[in-house]
């Protein structure tokens, strides 16, 4: 068959497909009548492309058909199934299960954070001069001033709270993301960053606890939101370390595939860690620094937060 005859025969099909592609690009809910025979039309299009290639028709024609086939393929197979409850399912079932599955890495991350924090904290508690080994004196001074200053007693006001909220979101969540991405280099940066955060926390906590004036201000401020913030940080470190570990020990997959498989698996965890850090930012900005809340209430809310975190990761998603 000559090319011209072939084009004349298939012209109707091609323009029909063009219309469908245009419709679906412009309006997501195209009228059902035009969508219905789409798979059949697509198969006929594929057949016409195969014929055109096999018969050596001109490149203009085959390129045109090739592009149409590619567009149709994306349209047909790329349409995602609507899964409205995925995120909820991920957060309530997949996420806690994943955390329990990765308990070894979680232990390692907790050791890096709490172990280093406790060790350095005890050192500073008994030998306070060691604090200067980790921080410059002006830095320690300014931290101490912060918890001594009257703003701890009168609060920052709503505007100040909002500013700090923005700061916590931008700063802390970005740190989470960096910890996760840094993990790909063998997991060491993620672990180091966790240990460094633990060290920071340990020194500051021990230093401020020595002084009864700052002790109360510090612990009542920190205790509630740290439940979410530290958990978020540890979990993003765990997901980063898992990526790094898949490079070190890929098992029976190639390194590329191991990395890909690990990242797909850890994605719910990084989403969960991000959510936890966002929740922490809310608490840190609008609750922790609120001077009108009695200290005892803060401690009891903190107890509720910490125990609900522990209970959630211990029991959520076990049935279902």
């Amino acid at each position: 068959m000559k090319q011209k005859q072939f084009e004349l025969e298939h012209q109707a099909l091609w323009s029909q497909i063009d219309t469908i592609l245009m419709l679906q690009k412009n309006q997501l809910s195209a009228s059902d009548k035009s969508v219905l025979p789409f798979p059949q039309l697509y198969r006929r299009l594929c057949q016409s492309l195969a014929l055109a290639l096999q018969r050596g028709y001109s490149p203009t024609l085959t390129d045109y058909l090739q592009k149409q086939v590619a567009d149709c393929h994306r349209q047909l197979y790329g349409a995602a199934v609507a899964r409205p409850l995925t995120l909820r399912h991920w957060m309530l079932v997949v996420f806690p299960r994943l955390v329990r599955e990765e308990w070894r890495l979680l232990m390692l991350a907790m050791l890096a954070f709490w172990g280093v924090g406790l060790g350095v904290g005890l050192l500073v508690w008994f030998e306070p001069q060691w604090a200067y080994a980790f921080f410059e004196p002006p830095k320690l001074e300014s931290v101490e001033q912060m918890y001594r200053s009257p703003t701890m007693k009168v609060g920052r006001g709503t505007e100040g709270d909002l500013m700090m909220f923005g700061h916590y979101i931008w700063n802390n969540v970005s740190i989470n993301f960096r910890t996760f991405a840094g993990g790909v280099v063998g997991g060491i940066p993620a672990l180091l960053s966790t240990a460094f955060n633990g060290l920071h926390f340990g020194v500051i906590a021990a230093w401020l606890s020595k002084d009864p004036v700052t002790r109360e201000a510090f612990w009542s401020f920190v205790v509630t939101h740290s439940s979410f913030e530290v958990t978020g940080l540890l979990l993003s470190a765990v997901s980063g370390m898992r990526l790094g570990w898949s490079l070190i020990s890929p098992g029976r997959l190639s390194r590329r595939h191991a990395l890909y498989a690990a990242s797909l698996r850890m994605f719910p965890m990084i989403v969960g860690a991000t959510l936890l850090t966002v929740i922490a930012a809310f608490f840190e900005a609008f609750w922790s620094a609120d001077p009108n809340v009695p200290v005892s209430v803060k401690y009891s809310i903190a107890a509720v937060c910490w125990s609900s975190i522990a209970l959630f990761f211990a029991f959520a998603g076990r049935r279902a």
Binding site: Q3, C46, R55
Partner: protein, 232 residues
């Protein structure tokens, strides 16, 4: 034939051809996106002012635009941020399908790792060592960046137009049968005539001497006649 294209076979038995985009167009796209983002951030900073509340909202916007802009663009606008659109490239999954939330988030979070130690060195090295020009984030997320097909010419336009200054060309049968690939290259020459310099066309037509038995202008006229015979 070496074309620099990847081919994926679909369930229908046809092949999808994808052209991976290299570091240079991607760097341009990145630079343009950076400019867009800086512009947006600048406008935000100016409108919100430096009050405490304004600063808070500004930082939240900074966060959302910095991490969210590429993700939202890739998921909702055909795999392209503004910069990628301008550079004519798009992000697809390795199987050629559009990216979803998971792929897009992962590849954009991994930008941090690709940046190390400075200015995307890891990403560049990774791209250069991968057949599909994938950076670390692309490997982690199972995506790749390919050129958008730009094609506006529809067939049925060139078919009637085979004529020259002496009027319509009478079709001639081929002296001996040609394979489909050979036929295709003849048709290709005639279709591309208008976009090539005349001397080059004559030079190419001379290569067909074993077929036409002529050189230069005469050979070209004969090729046109054969092509007219092939397609009409």
């Amino acid at each position: 034939m070496i074309t620099g294209r990847l081919s994926l076979t679909t369930p229908e038995g046809v092949r999808l051809l994808l052209t991976p985009a290299g570091p240079v167009p991607r760097a341009w796209a990145w630079a343009l996106d950076l400019l867009v983002w800086l512009g947006f951030i600048g406008v935000c900073a100016m409108t919100l002012g430096w009050s405490k509340a304004g600063k808070g909202i500004y930082l939240v916007l900074l966060f959302v635009s910095y991490w969210g802009y590429p993700i939202v663009c890739e998921v909702y606008f055909g795999g392209s941020t503004l910069g990628k659109r301008a550079a004519g490239i798009m992000v697809v999954r390795v199987d050629g399908l559009p990216v979803g939330w998971r792929e897009s988030c992962l590849r954009n979070l991994m930008l941090v790792a690709d940046f190390l130690p400075f200015l995307y060195t890891t990403g560049l090295l990774c791209m250069l060592s991968d057949v599909q020009f994938r950076r670390l984030g692309d490997i982690v997320a199972g995506t790749q960046v390919v050129y958008r097909d730009v094609l506006t010419v529809k067939p049925l336009l060139n078919v009637d137009a085979i004529d020259d200054e002496f009027g319509r060309i009478e079709s001639q049968p081929l002296p001996y049968p040609l394979s489909p690939v050979q036929q295709r290259s003849l048709i290709d020459l005639v279709e591309r005539e208008s976009s090539l310099p005349p001397e080059r066309v004559l030079e190419l037509a001379t290569i067909a001497q074993p077929l036409t038995g002529q050189t230069g202008e005469k050979s070209l006229r004969r090729v046109r006649a054969y092509v007219a015979g092939l397609i009409q």
